[in-house]
């Protein structure tokens, strides 16, 4: 396949890397080893142990670089983090309304002209941490350094101090009802990319129902992976948001990845009713014209209601319809970037919710059904016949996440997630190949909570089980981190 460029979120990249490592290490058959979406051909196709170790070691570090908690807003309005966040970076109902209004309180003091001229809407975030990563069934040389000694499978464990990537958030208003985000984001080695960059025209025709965004941005996911509370290598992403069926490398899409395009969105005054309709390049957020000329579409709807003492509840639905090229024009046999054609389709549809039992207990349920065209599933150019047994891969993903807020500065976390293949890309594959189960527990303690900066002590344990066709592969993470922004 044509080389793909780094274009997705770094969190997504970490997820992919971690899973690729897991798959590779498991000694899975070729198609399984490439079961996870690739953001770079090197990552996806790597087979060597050294690549495995390198990727493994960096899996966590890149996993948390683009979450959203922006003290720049708190400084501007004099509000503590807890005003907009249940526990930062997750938004509460008030924070959601603030975001929907275009980072405006709506008090006629939102334009930058009302700020002290020295105010600059920038926030930096990084997470020093100690972490331990472990996975079984990793393929290694029998005798280290001796490539002739054959290979065996062992459990690899590594631990130590490290850094996450870094976000340099700039966000706010250019003018009343014109908002923006610019988010240069780096991995732990300061390799930078633009995670988000957009301008949004808010409240067009004096109506919250019409807002127009242009650039690279997060999809309007009801449960945002950019604002969630898990950070570790295995727990720091939703499997459902990035999963690809065993054997498929031709579709780089992840619903958790920031995408590039334009979005029309709207909301009621209190943001209880929301919609979003986006037209996106079929590039998984890659800002280059690296693939084809096709477009994807994303539709989201959600409705919240006030359930009295239980709090504000929200239920939403989404549908993402996309396509990816299956072959390219070539030069000397090498694909020419941007000339992708023969696009084939895929979709993701599902429901998500955000439910509270009072002010202390929150549940985030999510279910999704996914389908990729058989040409994508078998990595087959659409100008040739499908291989024998090829069929459209389909799978279901679901998770339930819960948060228990002991107080605004201390939260306990838990999540269970499952991926189940319902139809493999090839009828000859085991039906459960690629299935995954993940379990995460954690806690975040915010020793400070005010309007100038944020600091969270984060402790987490996560484990992922992957069906490789033989014995399952287990990988787990332990994390202790200081997550701060200012």
């Amino acid at each position: 396949m044509v080389e793909r460029f780094f274009g997705g979120g770094s969190r997504a990249t970490a997820c992919r890397i971690g899973l690729v490592v897991a798959m590779i290490g498991a000694g899975a058959p070729g198609p399984v080893a490439a079961a996870v979406r690739g953001t770079g051909s090197g990552v996806v196709t790597a087979r060597g142990t050294s690549a495995t170790l390198t990727a493994y070691a960096t899996a966590y570090a890149a996993s948390r670089t683009n979450a959203k908690a922006i003290p720049a807003f708190a400084r501007k309005y004099g509000l503590a983090c807890s005003a907009c966040h249940t526990a930062w970076p997750e938004l509460n109902a008030f924070g959601q309304a603030f975001r929907d209004r275009g980072y405006q309180l709506g008090n006629e003091r939102d334009s930058p002209i009302w700020q002290n001229a020295s105010y600059f809407p920038v926030t930096a975030r990084i997470t020093p941490q100690w972490h331990r990563e472990s996975a079984n069934q990793q393929t290694v040389d029998v005798v280290p350094g001796d490539t002739t000694s054959g290979t065996t499978q062992r459990t690899l464990t590594m631990s130590g101090f490290g850094l996450s990537g870094m976000d340099l958030w700039m966000a706010g208003t250019l003018f009343k009802n014109i908002s923006f985000v610019l988010l240069p984001s780096s991995d732990e080695n300061a390799q930078w990319h633009f995670e988000a960059a957009f301008v949004r025209f808010d409240n067009l025709a004096n109506s919250g129902w019409v807002n127009f965004k242009f650039g690279k941005f997060e999809l309007d996911n009801l449960i945002s992976e950019k604002r969630f509370l898990f950070l570790s290598g295995n727990g720091g992403s939703y499997l459902s948001y990035h999963f690809a069926p065993p054997g498929e490398t031709s579709n780089d899409f992840g619903i958790g990845d920031n995408q590039i395009g334009a979005e029309l969105s709207g909301h009621s005054d209190n943001s209880y009713t929301r919609y979003g309709l986006a037209l996106l390049s079929s590039t998984d957020g890659n800002p280059d014209l690296a693939e084809g000329q096709s477009y994807d579409a994303d539709l989201t709807l959600s409705q919240a209601w006030d359930a009295g003492k239980l709090g504000v509840q929200r239920l939403g639905a989404f549908a993402y319809l996309g396509q990816r090229p299956t072959y390219y024009q070539t030069s000397g046999g090498a694909p020419i970037a941007g000339t992708g054609t023969g696009a084939k389709g895929f979709y993701r549809v599902g429901l998500a919710g955000d439910f509270f039992l009072g002010n202390s207990l929150e549940f985030l349920p999510f279910v999704m059904h996914a389908h990729d065209n058989a040409f994508l599933g078998s990595n087959t150019p659409s100008n040739v016949a499908l291989p024998a047994g090829a069929q459209a891969p389909e799978w279901n993903g679901a998770f339930l996440e819960s948060h228990y807020y002991i107080n605004p500065q201390l939260v306990l976390l838990g999540r269970y997630e499952a991926i189940r293949m319902s139809q493999q890309a090839n009828a000859g594959m085991p039906s459960s190949l690629g299935n995954q189960d993940a379990l995460s527990f954690g806690t975040r303690w915010y020793p400070i909570m005010f309007s100038r900066a944020g600091l969270a002590w984060d402790g987490e344990w996560s484990i992922v089980k992957t069906n490789t066709g033989g014995a399952p592969m287990w990988s787990n993470s332990v994390l202790i981190a200081l997550d701060f922004d200012f």
Binding site: Y77, G78, L79, A80, S82, A83, A93, F94, Q96, A97, F98, L105, G106, N107, E108, R109, D269, N270, S271, Y272, D306, A307, G308, K309, G311, V312, N359, N407, P408, F450, S451
Partner: protein
């Protein structure tokens, strides 16, 4: 005799405690429609949402107060701008609930409507605990707002005369720009400088609401804690409605009042005496 005295004293003490308990209990709750807010729940929410500006003691001295203009409300003084009750009286729970839900335009007080109504009711209950007035006094009785008369050019002109006669222009300026001769001298009840409302700012919202009833209520109750007095004793309801309709013409908005006014001014504007000290009235 001594026994009777002791019984009497204990009874009196019991009654006192009972009354105090009832009064305190009332202050620990709020009642908004079918909702009952509880201060204990509100305290946690206050810490989450309000403490940064209004402070842990509710005195408006939160850690962010020094950067905020106008300053956050001092709940210990129990002086609230936006009420349905006469000046000098306590607001109703509904008034506080409405103010919190609506936010205050041109200030840092956000629109808290996205919070669950129960949360807002709990917050109201807690805010009331900062002042002993809520345990010793009842809220005032909401004023009655008579039906709004039809908008007419005669009414708008009468409202204009009232604007002149009541000297509204001294603070709000002849054209309602908030630049009257007294504007720069105004302070609130805590001696903080305060600016009169600028009708020409183009906002659709006023401090205490957005519709004509809200404007009527503003100057018939006054905005306690600010220099804006109550005109309930100076204006008859009809005069107050005329003033409402005139004030609408000062806004650069396409209101019904503004349309009638612009049409009239196009043909009669040259006959208007300017508002201000030279008006001659």
């Amino acid at each position: 005799m001594r026994h009777h005295s002791a019984v009497g004293a204990l009874t009196g003490l019991g009654m006192l405690l009972l009354v105090a308990g009832v009064a305190t209990g009332a202050a620990q709750e709020s009642h908004i429609g079918n909702l009952t807010g509880h201060a204990a729940s509100g305290q946690k929410l206050y810490k989450r949402f309000c403490i940064g500006c209004h402070g842990p003691d509710g005195d408006g001295n939160g850690e962010n107060a020094q950067w905020i203009d106008p300053k956050p409300r001092d709940f210990t003084a129990a002086l609230f701008k936006c009420r349905s009750t006469p000046t000098g009286t306590l607001p109703t729970d509904q008034d506080l609930f409405n103010a919190m839900s609506r936010g205050f335009v041109t200030t840092n007080m956000p629109i808290w409507e996205p919070l669950a109504a129960q949360n807002r009711a709990d917050l109201v209950a807690y805010v009331k605990t900062f002042s002993p007035r809520f345990t010793t006094e009842k809220a005032g009785v909401s004023i009655t707002i008579p039906p709004e008369p039809a908008i007419s050019i005669d009414g708008i002109l009468r409202g204009r005369q009232t604007f002149q006669k009541m000297e509204c222009w001294k603070c709000h300026g002849p054209a309602g720009h908030g630049d009257g001769p007294s504007a720069s001298t105004l302070t609130d009840s805590k001696d903080n400088p305060i600016r009169p409302y600028n009708f020409a700012a183009g906002t659709t919202r006023f401090m205490c609401g957005a519709n004509n009833q809200d404007i009527y209520r503003d100057f018939m109750t006054g905005l306690d804690g600010s220099p804006m007095p109550s005109f309930a004793d100076q204006l008859q309801p009809a005069e107050a409605w005329d003033l409402v309709h005139f004030l609408r013409t000062l806004q650069p908005l396409d209101t019904p009042e503004a349309r009638i006014w612009r049409q009239w001014v196009a043909t009669h504007g040259k006959d208007l005496k300017p508002i201000g000290p030279d008006n001659g009235q």
